[in-house]
């Protein structure tokens, strides 16, 4: 039986205290991970901002509403690293997020909900005499299907007469990705994964047609924005001073926030169909096999009592839901953003806090990104699973993704996870369809004997079961001790 982890932190993070490598951008705040605790080190200025926030009713309201991560002043401090210029003035401790995810793994609705949360926080902060110093979706995490703002260090004292410094970042990382997906059906995930700073106003302008400029918000937030950026690129205009002396005030920021909210609420990703969106309806399973498969998963989850489960190729999340009945937390991954978007919608409606839906191509999973490749972590580095569900998956990874069967099992073995893995034999109608698209003999490693040999070399196979169709086999396996 797997020993469930108490949180998403990796063994390395629990054993070796260290600075979170993605937290260096704000000079007033660094995140330090020590023995399973998430600590935030504050500079003198950071402390002043925290005192302003924590003494405001807004802080307690946001935490109570689940919109801001639970945070308190830390006691019983470990040795702290000397990473802030001017020294550490205070240390906060945050609740641990069960599993960290990034915007390029979210679906349209997830990014939209994160954007609306960001706007709400800016609006309510202004009401409390505060402001958010940045506007990045990397400050938002999901607990199940609920967005939570995690960067308490982002709150700062409002400065009268100053414009919203985070507006450009909001456009680049929230607004433009949503516009492009809603208007052009361009998946924003690849763009955000390609550039950690997002899509610039000029890049977005280049992607829109003249007709698109007639759409709500396009002319001002994209075209004019890009034009002004170009115009002022090499000038010494002191925009902040000029705006201040011309009477700019926070009412204008609030008006912008309200307009952005209306705009974003109206953005919809109208894609009706995708390769996998009708899978549960068009699947080749008999009812009996589907029922037996669900029972097999239930039995293994009850036996393993896993902490963290990954459901790889989750589709509509049927097995993720079964796992969530027992497991501490389930990360449900699928390559098809549309089915994950629908799953997110359903989970959000239910208020589900134990299943995190993400979109990802397992043949090209999220790598380390950003400065030194450490700012954004690869998937397994954020907490490897105690149990991985790989149902109706390996034929797609192997035949469509051209990943050798042995290498896929190597990857699973590297995470020391237990498995429920299904092997659809070459006689299965779906496998036959996939093989038909390839040359005869392209996948000599895709056969049951070789799969079982590879599995047994890497895992202890607890049991297997052939489904009644005879074309699919389920295996329960554990990592070698």
């Amino acid at each position: 039986m797997a020993i469930p982890r108490e949180n998403s932190l990796t063994d390395q993070e629990i054993k070796t205290p260290g600075i979170e490598p993605g937290s260096f951008r704000d000079p007033d705040s660094r995140v330090f991970i020590s023995h399973g605790r998430i600590l935030r080190l504050l500079s003198k200025q950071g402390l002043a901002d925290w005192q302003k926030l924590s003494s405001s009713p807004l802080f307690a309201e946001l935490v109570a509403e689940g919109k801001l991560v639970g945070t308190r002043e830390a006691t019983d401090l470990p040795d702290l690293p000397d990473v802030l210029q001017g020294g550490v003035a205070a240390v906060l401790e945050h609740d641990v997020i069960p599993f960290v995810s990034y915007p390029y793994e979210w679906t349209f609705s997830m990014l939209r909900d994160a954007a609306l949360l960001q706007l709400e926080l800016v609006e309510r902060s202004i009401g409390a005499g505060m402001m958010l110093k940045d506007s990045t979706p990397y400050n938002v995490q999901f607990v199940g299907a609920r967005p939570v703002f995690v960067d308490v260090g982002s709150f700062e004292q409002l400065r009268e007469g100053e414009p919203w410094a985070g507006y450009r970042q909001f456009c680049m990382l929230f607004l433009y990705p949503l516009m492009l997906e809603a208007w052009k059906d361009i998946p924003f995930q690849t763009w955000l994964r390609g550039n950690i700073a997002g899509i610039s106003p000029q890049e977005c302008r280049n992607l829109l047609s003249s007709r698109d400029l007639l759409r709500r918000g396009a002319f001002t937030h994209v075209a004019l924005h890009a034009r002004l950026e170009r115009h002022y690129e090499n000038t010494d205009t002191d925009a902040k001073k000029e705006l201040k002396t011309s009477g700019f005030n926070q009412e204008l920021i609030l008006a912008n926030i309200r307009r952005l909210r209306r705009l974003i609420k109206k953005l919809e990703w109208k894609r009706a169909d995708s390769e996998w969106s009708g899978y549960e309806l068009t699947t080749t399973y008999s009812d009996e096999d589907a029922k037996r498969k669900a029972e097999f998963v239930t039995e293994v989850v009850r036996t393993e009592k896993p902490g963290l489960v990954w459901d790889l190729g989750c589709n509509e999340g049927h097995h993720a839901r079964i796992a969530a009945e027992t497991a501490r937390y389930v990360v449900a991954l699928d390559i098809d953003a549309l089915v994950v978007d629908r799953l997110y919608g359903a989970l959000a409606k239910e208020g589900q806090a134990k299943i995190l839906p993400l979109t990802m191509n397992l043949a090209d999973p999220s790598p380390g990104l950003g400065w030194r490749g450490l700012e954004r972590k690869p998937l397994p580095d954020r907490g490897s699973p105690d149990l991985a569900l790989c149902l109706a998956l390996i034929h797609h990874v192997s035949i469509t993704g051209n990943i050798p069967v042995a290498e896929f099992l190597d990857w699973l073995q590297s995470m020391k996870t237990s498995l429920v893995i299904e092997f659809p034999t070459p006689d299965d109608p779906m496998v036959s369809r996939l093989l038909m698209r390839k040359r005869v003999g392209d996948h000599p490693d895709y056969n049951r004997d070789w799969f079982e040999q590879c599995l047994a070399q890497r895992f202890d196979v607890v049991r297997s079961e052939v489904l009644s169709s005879g074309e699919r086999v389920l295996y329960h396996a554990r990592p070698r001790a």
């Binding site: 004292q157 507006y167 004019l224 002004l228 002022y232 690129e233 925009a239 002396t245 008006a255 912008n256």
Partner: protein, 55 residues
Amino acid sequence: MIQPSLAYIDASTGSLLIQMLTGGVAAAAVVLKMYWRRLRKLLHIGKPEETDSQS
């Protein structure tokens, strides 16, 4: 005491100035005032530049 603005992200001049236009009707007065001030400065008339007194 509020420190002078030290936003660590690059907001870009264009992105700051466009916020006069994203503020809707209420922003019109700010736009007019800014261009009026620019015009007066161009013509070398009016009061000397106001100083920014934050501290």
